[in-house]
């Protein structure tokens, strides 16, 4: 049994069957981390002692029959923008270099209730602002498929940790594609759930109307099991939605007969790498052969999603990040007087990309520009939502690429912000419209870098995505085995 290559669900089964203990699984992961971290740097914090202690406690509860679920005993990595009681939570920013929360994010608590065991916290773009994990104040993460390339971002550490087998699954957060794009670049499964499905309590806010926590995993089955564990209605998050259909593992059915899949022509136009295009269309054909009904259509407004998104996200970020003022927690600069202290603390504590977005956000919200920029973007958001509503009146799912290319090389993206933002073109509108999106690996390019297939569903239709993603994944496995 190759322990580290087991999926989360397979590992928990092996633990239940007493082939291995939760402690042994954690030891194996920690050894792997020790071996790989100097090269990949997926983590900001690895809590070795705590992880082993927690694994021991969970093992006892498994033996006592208290924990029986599909994640019991499974080591998990959590993105460093989710609060974890007693464990450093930096958001990959200098301004939170010493922040130790005294409470745990609801999504992480839900995982702990399911018996998953926290290993540590993964690297990310600072405050989740970036698409490469290169804006982290704690060094870049490298793509385990080829360490000369970025893992994507902002949940790059989580995706890379799954790909490098430095955890069995991970949590990420997705504001404009930050789960799906790194999943695509690292060749793992990633899902952004419908807005409001997973509590944002304890998630350090970036763009509150867009942020959503979700799983990064090796398989669609794991993805469904994790989503089932973390989805909950939470009165501590005012935008939390009460759902009764969160038994997502029921959707792990290999059958897509009669499902209508729309392929937006606008997602296959200029700017799309030809190898990505052919891998994604090939995946669509696999689904068609299984009985899905494919149809091309025009989604419209695709080119307007990025400018609308960056206006809204920057506006919300400038407001959300006001709390980092050097008073209550985090870094404080030495300065005379309160206002000088605020300014110095923030100027020294935030990195260039975060400052860029705070400046832009402050501008679009300022008197005289609010209507022209911010309200205009919210109106466009309404139009984009309507375009998706129209599409979902005809289709069960929209299929396209997750990103226009495979992973870029390290060091090539940050010099041109707008070019980097354009890489989010296929993921961003999903956040604006609050939809669920699932990324499943569907091939590699000539460099051996992974390509991801993105499935987009109507609000609350995660089960359709899981069913289609699972069917595709199983067929691909058969094809590779043949």
């Amino acid at each position: 049994m190759e322990l580290l290559s087991l999926s989360a669900v397979e590992l928990s089964a092996a633990i239940r069957e007493k082939k291995i203990t939760a402690v042994e699984a954690m030891e194996a992961v920690l050894d792997r981390i020790e071996e790989c971290e100097p090269q990949y740097h997926c983590y900001v914090t690895v809590d070795r002692e705590g992880a082993l202690e927690r694994a021991g406690q969970v093992q006892k509860r498994i033996e006592a029959g208290e924990l029986t679920g599909p994640l019991a005993g499974v080591p998990v990595a959590v993105k460093d923008n989710m609060c974890t009681e007693g464990m450093l939570t930096t958001c990959a920013s200098r301004i939170l270099e010493n922040f130790i929360p005294f409470y745990t994010a609801e999504a992480v608590l839900n995982l702990e209730k399911a018996g998953a065991v926290l290993i540590g916290k993964t690297n990310m773009d600072e405050f989740a602002m970036g698409s490469t994990t290169e804006t982290s104040a704690y060094g870049v993460t490298k793509n385990p498929r080829n360490p000369e390339y970025v893992p994507g971002g902002s949940s790059g550490g989580s995706a890379a940790a799954v790909a490098a087998e430095e955890c069995f699954f991970a949590l990420g957060s997705d504001t404009g594609g930050s789960i799906r794009q790194p999943a695509s670049f690292c060749g793992v499964v990633g899902m952004k759930p419908t807005y409001g499905t997973v509590s944002r309590y304890g998630l350090v806010a970036y763009g509150s109307s867009l942020d959503q926590i979700g799983p990064l995993s090796k398989t669609v089955e794991d993805c469904a099991a994790v989503l089932e564990a973390i989805a909950s209605h939470d009165s501590k998050d005012s935008t939390s939605v009460e759902r009764s259909d969160t038994n997502f593992t029921e959707a792990l059915v290999r059958d897509v007969r009669g499902l209508r899949i729309g392929i937006p022509r606008d997602y296959f136009g200029e700017g799309l790498d030809p190898e990505v295009r052919s891998a994604v269309l090939e995946a669509a054909k696999v689904l068609e052969a299984q009985g899905a009904v494919l149809e091309e259509f025009d989604l419209s407004l695709v080119d307007y999603a990025i400018p609308a998104y960056y206006t809204i996200a920057a506006a919300e970020a400038s407001s959300n990040l006001e709390r980092f003022d050097g008073i209550k927690y985090g870094y404080r600069a030495d300065a005379q007087g309160l206002h000088q202290m605020y300014k110095k603390t923030r100027s020294q504590g935030f990195g260039p990309e975060v400052k860029r977005r705070i400046m832009l956000g402050s501008f679009v919200l300022s008197s005289g520009y609010y209507d022209a920029y911010y309200l205009k973007a919210l109106r466009v958001k309404g139009m984009i939502k309507k375009a998706f509503d129209d599409a979902f009146s005809k289709y069960d799912c929209i299929l396209g690429p997750a990103a226009p290319s495979t992973a870029p090389k390290l060091g090539e993206s940050l010099s041109d912000p707008i070019k980097m933002y354009l890489g989010d073109i296929y993921t961003i509108s999903v956040n604006l419209a609050g939809l669920p999106g699932l990324c499943v690996p569907c091939g590699t390019d000539h460099k051996g870098l992974p390509i991801g297939l993105q499935l987009i569903g109507d609000c609350f239709q995660e089960k359709k995505l899981i069913r289609i993603g699972y069917t595709y994944e199983q067929c691909r496995k058969d094809l590779q085995g043949a």
């Binding site: 130790i100 807005y195 935008t239 400052k355 832009l360 609050g434």
Partner: protein, 97 residues
């Protein structure tokens, strides 16, 4: 570049954002913000008259609860993260002379 960001604008935005930028950072910020606004101006191609601004995708309403403390007194834990504290309070730099 259609949007020319002046020194005054950068100064003003810096005050709003509570950021102190070096001269070099200011010059870069002028270029970056101008380019972003040029790009955002693309939204003006769309006629949005009659479209309501959508802040949330679902019709969310305020969530109310009774004004009762349910999470206990976390003040000691909260203060552990304070850069400076005294007598169970946050210490801040002088705010007036």
């Amino acid at each position: 570049m259609a949007n020319i960001i002046t020194d005054e604008t950068i100064e003003y935005v810096g005050i709003l954002a509570k950021l102190e930028l070096s001269d070099q950072e200011k010059e870069q910020a002028k270029i970056d913000m101008g380019r972003m606004l040029d790009y955002i101006d693309k939204l003006n191609e769309l006629d949005t008259s009659g479209v309501e601004p959508m802040s949330h995708v679902f019709p969310v309403q305020n969530v109310f609860r009774e004004d009762v403390v349910t999470n206990g007194d976390g003040s000691a834990d909260t203060l552990k993260n304070a850069p400076e504290e005294k007598d169970r309070m946050f210490v801040v730099p002088k705010t007036f002379e």
